[in-house]
């Protein structure tokens, strides 16, 4: 027998996103020179402890926050990243399986501005919401 869901807050007939852990970290961008045509990879990783984990990942600069998972814009970080010039900043989120068991968040800064640039030093705060989801392990 089915259930009508629009007005239901929760029903045990359906799974829900069980938030078992919220990890926090940071991606630190140093004031380093990036030659034209080159890139800088900066990352942070947080552990996950349950098999079948799915995550929502956010980056913020203290006043603005963006969602960088499940979105078709790896450059969504542009709303919180402090650009030096017209460099490209994108984000990737990887599920590293056992034995690593970490969520790896990588900020990729690519310089195609035509000349070397020195990045603006900054810190992007990382929030990783970890869900125990009804999926098999990665």
């Amino acid at each position: 027998m089915g259930q009508r869901l629009d007005k239901i807050v929760h029903t045990t007939g359906f799974e829900a996103y069980k938030n078992y852990l919220t990890e926090r970290g940071a991606i630190v961008v140093p004031a380093v020179a990036v030659p034209n045509g080159d890139f800088e990879l900066l990352s942070d990783s947080v552990p996950y402890t349950r098999q079948g984990t799915r995550v929502d990942v956010y980056l913020d600069n203290g006043t603005k926050k963006v969602l960088v998972t499940g979105v078709g814009n790896r450059a969504a970080v542009a709303d919180v990243y402090n650009f030096k010039s017209t460099e490209l900043a994108t984000v990737n989120v990887q599920y590293l399986p056992s034995p690593s068991n970490v969520i790896l968040v990588t900020l990729n800064i690519e310089n195609f501005t035509g000349s070397s640039i020195t990045l603006n030093a900054q810190t992007l705060n990382l929030t990783v919401v970890e869900y125990d989801a009804p999926i098999t392990p990665v």
Partner: protein, 236 residues
């Protein structure tokens, strides 16, 4: 006793807060050359794999995928440099297999579908879902991601709309939108740099930024009215 003071730290607080309802999970793989269909836009042709979801209206779709060895989140690039998203209409969940050129090889995927509350005026019956691998649907020992505020906005033109919230912090959130009428997509944007933009005239883009007491949702290219759905979560 009121739950409002410490509700962010409460594992489960019915009937005060909605939670996302997972109505289906699909895991598998497909051949990117032979198991896909094409979708043609004025900027090119993309190739999608279809999963019949069994519902009578769209759902929110979350994707994890890989064409290599390690899973990434939908929207990210795997170690082959491939990127993919999942979206839905009233019949299918679509996984974007490749953009602007047929691809080869296998894509493995995990898709979770959650219900869109009040999508339209209907309220159809939905068959209960239970995972074959995790057969406990509810456990009061576990925290549940609680929705503090959710709703839908209609965009009649390319513009920005602001949603207020009372959390006084950078809350967690999710946004989905109609990139085409009656197709519910995750946010995607970037214009010429958007790998998922295959129609410049009829395909909308959307982005969102959370602030201390507001959230801005912006939509681009809106030839006909398009909706966006937002969820602002209570959990810290």
């Amino acid at each position: 006793m009121s739950l409002t003071d410490d509700s962010a730290n409460v594992a489960f607080a019915a009937p005060h807060f909605d939670i996302d309802k997972i109505v289906g999970v699909w895991e598998g793989s497909f051949n990117r050359a032979t198991d896909v269909v094409s979708r043609v836009g004025d900027a090119g042709t993309i190739y999608v794999y279809r999963i019949a979801h069994g519902f009578t209206r769209p759902v929110f779709a979350d994707l994890m995928f890989t064409t290599a060895s390690g899973f990434v989140d939908g929207g990210s690039a795997d170690s082959n440099g491939e990127t993919s998203l999942a979206f839905s209409d009233s019949t299918y969940i679509y996984i974007i297999s490749s953009l602007f050129a047929p691809a080869v090889g296998t894509m493995r995927y995990k898709v979770l579908a959650t219900w869109i509350d009040n999508y339209d005026d209907s309220n159809p019956s939905v068959t209960p879902y239970k995972s074959p691998t995790k057969d406990i649907n509810f456990d009061s020992r576990l925290n549940y991601q609680k929705i503090q505020k959710q709703g839908a906005l209609t965009f009649n033109s390319a513009t920005l709309q602001t949603v207020t919230h009372s959390l006084n912090r950078l809350a967690n959130f999710r946004v989905f939108f109609e990139s085409f009428p009656n197709e519910v997509w995750p946010m995607h944007s970037g214009g010429a740099s958007n790998p998922f933009l295959y129609d410049n005239n009829d395909m909308s883009e959307c982005s969102a930024v959370m602030k201390i007491n507001t959230m801005d949702i912006e939509m681009f290219v809106v030839p006909t009215p398009r909706r966006a759905w937002y969820k602002i979560y209570l959990d810290r």
